[in-house]
Symmetry: C2
Subunit: 438 residues, 2 copies
């Protein structure tokens, strides 16, 4: 009988406490699946006194994450403190340096220092597992690392932030404004007091950077991700999406293009028939386009203590079973530099909503500017406010116009809209949303 | 550098040829992911002369699957011949007996002999991998075996047969009959000339038996699965489902109940809002309900040469990496006997469609019979044929009545409907379809 795997856990919040509980209650099944026992032997957290609802008797309390990371009595260091800096960074580095395996749910740490940490894991022979960092219990890391080991990937994209999807779902279903839905999300605990990290797309960008590295064998680099958030989305965009056969989602998209690997996070129109369009509320989903095979979509909870703990425990079980995958799917020497594909060269369809000062004269002017950039229009919808009734004072009222373009380049769209703005035929700035086809 | 994994492939149809091609074209990535090379060194198939579009030069041609299975030059035997009997069975047994690892896509073999083969794998130390046997490239086996290693499973259910889902989708979207859609499916190559294996639910039952074993730690046993097919489904059932907020799918469901593990395959009403309800055409999907976490749904192609080959190659890569999982997730000694939970004790809601001879008198009679069995009715819909116009001859015409019950036991439903039939207040036999809540 192999000796049990000895685990040390740093961070005993909701996730950490649930990991302790699962390892205790599922001991027999875990031992059966792993071929050896798994035991939590030491923990550390900020407060020893805090009530956590789990029995920590018989588990050593270590004062300092660094001391736990290099504790001679543990084989596997579980980092659940969060944050891309210390103490998480130094503790994980120390554990890997000591030849221990590391399991972490820390997306920020991986997006920023993933390459350095993977190098340390490779050098010293420990595993570096992080299924919980993206999509919690949805097995997306395992699927990219192992499940599609022999299949080239063309594109991976998904809804990676439950807060944004909750807000967009409410806006769509109830016609509410972004601000109202954000307030509700905060009240329900789905959004932080400072919501920027979620709603401005940075959380999605960190997760996308990790997925892109696994899918394409590039060095993980959050800085290579183009990011736009959802705060500019208006209820009329969601209404128009619905009319046109789309849904509006904040997507993270990593795709192989002629100019390199595009990594981008932005509000996106997706066809209603796509699997990703069906994903509502706080649920997350990832779609993987493998070479020659129809898309595979994984849907589930992207956050939550139990779902995150489930993935952490599965990662620990893999360590117990002796699985040592390359953290990013390939040896460090095979990982390629991430060239940030310029968004100006992005190719795709566009949704453009603008306020025409005087329809149809303006429409002709806009069409001309788009034609100059060789942009073809798939559809144009003009909605009269007030059901089309002429205003009482006889003055022209700005009229919302919505255009859908065929696939074109982003710089052409930008040039055309700059010219339209110069022409002074529209009020305010146009709303531009990219379309992602399935 | 570790020596490359030497692979022998038995069966060179679409899948086998694609496996050879992938191992060749993805060699570098596979070696990077696995830590060692993978080489096809020997093959066997019925016809050596057949054109397959892959280069077999440099690969030994072995005449007989059994000889290949025990070939001293191979480490891993890949069985792609199909069928639950010989030569597949004896070849896989021989390979495992010789201590080799086996990768197979053969659901029939596993559903029938999985336990015996897993025992042989455990005894002799080889891997037995079969990701492709259920849902092709959808990583459902890996997710149950490894991704949810530490999470108890309450239920696993899914759309496991593309033929049936294609037929039901066409029936729903175009109002066509089962027979018409089956004919189209046959014309398009989605259904066999003898469609019984698919449309009567046996293909789904084999796959479900495998999933149930992985989810619940029971000994795989196709005979423990209750099976109903889709041939009795009428367009009016699909129309009624739509009106009532459901979609109609052929589901395989394995669920932990008070009386044991229920394994059942039958046409099922699923709420339109569920992930599984969105799955259209030949696409497959599996939903896993883990303890304490929201459902995880995996969606993708359930068949096809490239998708199946993708899973086979991933399984081979796992063998190359040295991963030896218990075939059914736990050691043989921990697998429990499968007690067939009696369908009479199944608990759930029911859709009942019948032809009342004379409405509303009949409705009262039916309501009485249901009440006698303590079945509560959630809704009742009565549709007059001919828009409710009285027939010209003044005679009463049978009227379709649709009932939705609250959760009740199957035996209560059967008794109530037997009494209704005895009362002679309905024409023909009632249509009964189970409802599965998400």
């Amino acid at each position: 009988m192999v000796a049990p795997l000895k685990v040390g856990i740093a961070g005993l919040g909701t996730v950490g406490a649930e990991v302790v509980r699962l390892i205790e209650t599922q001991a027999r099944v875990l031992a059966g699946r792993s071929g050896r026992g798994i035991r939590v032997v030491a923990v550390t957290a900020r407060s020893k006194a805090k009530k956590r609802g789990v029995d920590l008797r018989g588990i050593e309390w270590v004062k300092d994450p660094l001391a736990l990371a290099t504790h001679p009595g543990i084989d596997c260091f579980v980092e659940l403190m969060g944050g891309s800096g210390d103490p998480a960074l130094s503790a994980v580095e120390a554990a890997l340096g000591a030849g221990k395996s590391v399991v972490t749910a820390n997306k920020a740490l991986l997006a920023k220092h993933g390459l350095k940490l993977a190098k340390a894991a490779e050098k010293h022979g420990g595993a570096l597992n992080f299924e919980a960092a993206v999509g919690a219990a949805i097995p997306v890391i395992k699927t990219l690392r192992e499940g599609l080991a022999g299949t080239g990937i063309n594109r991976v994209y998904g809804i990676l932030n439950g807060t944004c999807n909750y807000i967009l779902t409410r806006m769509e279903q109830e016609g509410l404004s972004f601000a109202e839905c954000l307030k509700d999300a905060q009240r329900l605990g789905y959004a932080e007091a400072n919501p920027s990290f979620d709603v401005d797309g940075h959380d999605t960008a960190q997760k996308l950077a990790i997925l892109a590295s696994l899918a394409f064998g590039t060095k993980v680099a959050q800085s290579a991700v183009y990011v736009e958030g959802i705060s500019s989305i208006a209820p009329e965009d969601l209404r128009a999406a619905d009319d046109l056969g789309y849904r509006l989602k904040l997507l993270g998209v990593a795709v192989r293009t002629a100019t390199g690997i595009e990594q981008r996070v932005h509000p996106t129109m997706v066809p209603k028939s796509s699997s990703i369009a069906q994903v509502m509320g706080v649920t997350n989903a990832v779609t993987i386009d493998g070479e020659g095979i129809p898309p595979i979509t994984l849907v589930g909870p992207g956050a939550g203590g139990a779902a995150t703990a489930s993935a952490v425990v599965a990662d620990i079980a893999d360590v117990a079973r002796g699985i040592r995958a390359n953290p990013f799917g390939r040896p460090i020497s095979q990982l390629q530099d991430t060239k940030k594909a310029p968004m100006e060269r992005h190719e795709g369809g566009y949704y453009i909503r603008l306020l025409a000062r005087d329809f149809p004269g303006t429409a002709a002017a806009i069409a001309t500017r788009l034609a100059e950039q060789k942009i073809s229009i798939e559809s144009i919808v003009q909605r009269h406010p007030n059901g089309g009734a002429a205003p009482a004072d006889g003055k022209a009222v700005p009229v919302p116009v919505i255009l859908i373009t065929y696939a074109t380049h982003e710089d052409a769209v930008r040039r055309a809209l700059a010219a339209v703005q110069k022409d002074k035929v529209i009020s305010g700035r146009p709303q531009v949303i990219r379309i992602e086809k399935n």
